[in-house]
Assembly symmetry: C2
Homo-oligomer: 227 residues x 2
């Protein structure tokens, strides 16, 4: 007797259901939700810090920090005085719908406009697990090199936004941003691309404007549904 | 009726068996084998290029290149005229014992002294899968930040060697190498640490000397067994 065990598909299907549950909760709260992904040390937490500093007076921002262990990033974000919760995956290399679901009770979603989820630093698996977000955004540091789209294609395909970070390092690294953009756009022609330095602040204004627009559109959508 | 399905442990146990098979093959060939791990873009391929350039006249080096897809890295290494095989994991975020086993037929192991396996760029899962290597070595770029040991502890615990790369960028990034070293050593007091720049070549000599010693010791060991 043989037993059929289609494990991987089941995990992804079960995750899809949980992501759908989360999506409904986010919609009910009128929230715009971003799933922020990158390899380790590309600058996700620094981008969050810069974004909170720039937008906190106009947009109520909440953060879910995903890490294998430690609460280092949540402490950094907590110093900004916004709602934040640390999720420890206990070894898992990505967040999933269930982890997000279990973390939501720690947040007052109705007091938020924008929820940013910082995924585990990993250019591979996070791209395969929906969390219920409105869109995925990824960071890539110029220090990682312009060949990364060739080698980690799925994350570029799943993302709506690519933030090329650490452009202040361009004079000191062998990275051609034009090539990086071209390779990313070949994988996903709809990518919205921002070139920034979270260290110097260069290039961040268009990203802030883009975020403002997403939150405003969500609000308009929610108001439209109500009337 | 309930069925017990201890999947994860089984996978790791099965992998351990395959790694053991590989280890036996490597020993028979008198090879020293390193499993090279890091996050994306930390400089694994550049380190391999530098190492081959420095040691090719004295040590016969072979390379297994692990990537999700593409043969970009193997082509880079192939230009050095050494034995190289590209392994595509087809989505998996790490190499495992079986992948290595299946790639060995593409190499003439008895014509090699040193086999370097470049794992998929990922600071998480590669640390959990033995390949049959003599030791794991990891790279960390200073551009990734000095907090990485706190957040990705297992890789530091499993590695015998930590190569801190891109030290030429230190004047331009917020990274304290002393703190990075201290945090890494707290996780693993036996780590052999090298500070290098694969771009400028700085700091690489001690790494080459260390590799020479490992290969020489393996040869002495094999000769000792024969007599």
């Amino acid at each position: 007797m043989t037993v059929k065990v289609p494990v991987v598909r089941d995990i992804l299907e079960a995750n899809e259901q949980l992501a759908e549950d989360n999506r409904r909760v986010f919609r009910d709260a009128g929230l715009f939700v971003i799933n922020l992904m990158s390899g380790p040390g590309a600058g996700k937490t620094s981008l969050l810090e810069r974004t909170i500093d720039a937008l906190r007076e106009e947009i109520r921002i909440g953060v879910i920090e995903g890490d294998i262990q430690s609460s280092y990033d949540a402490e950094r974000i907590g110093q900004k005085g916004v709602q934040v919760v640390q999720l420890n995956t206990g070894g898992s290399c990505h967040l999933d719908g269930n982890m997000i679901k279990s973390s939501l009770q720690a947040l007052d979603l109705h007091q938020l406009d924008l929820l940013m989820v910082e995924n585990v630093g990993n250019l591979v698996c996070p791209a395969a697990f929906n969390l219920g977000e409105d869109m995925k955004a990824m960071l890539l540091s110029v220090a990682e090199g312009d060949d990364k789209p060739l080698k980690y294609p799925r994350m570029f395909q799943e993302s709506r936004v690519l933030i090329i970070n650490k452009i202040d390092l361009l004079p000191y690294v062998d990275c051609h941003v034009g090539k990086m953009r071209e390779r990313a756009l070949q994988l996903n022609a709809h990518l919205e691309i921002f070139e920034v330095s979270c260290r110097t602040g260069e290039g961040l204004s268009p990203w802030f404007d883009w975020l403002r627009r997403q939150v405003r559109d969500r609000k308009a959508e929610v108001d439209g549904t109500k009337t």
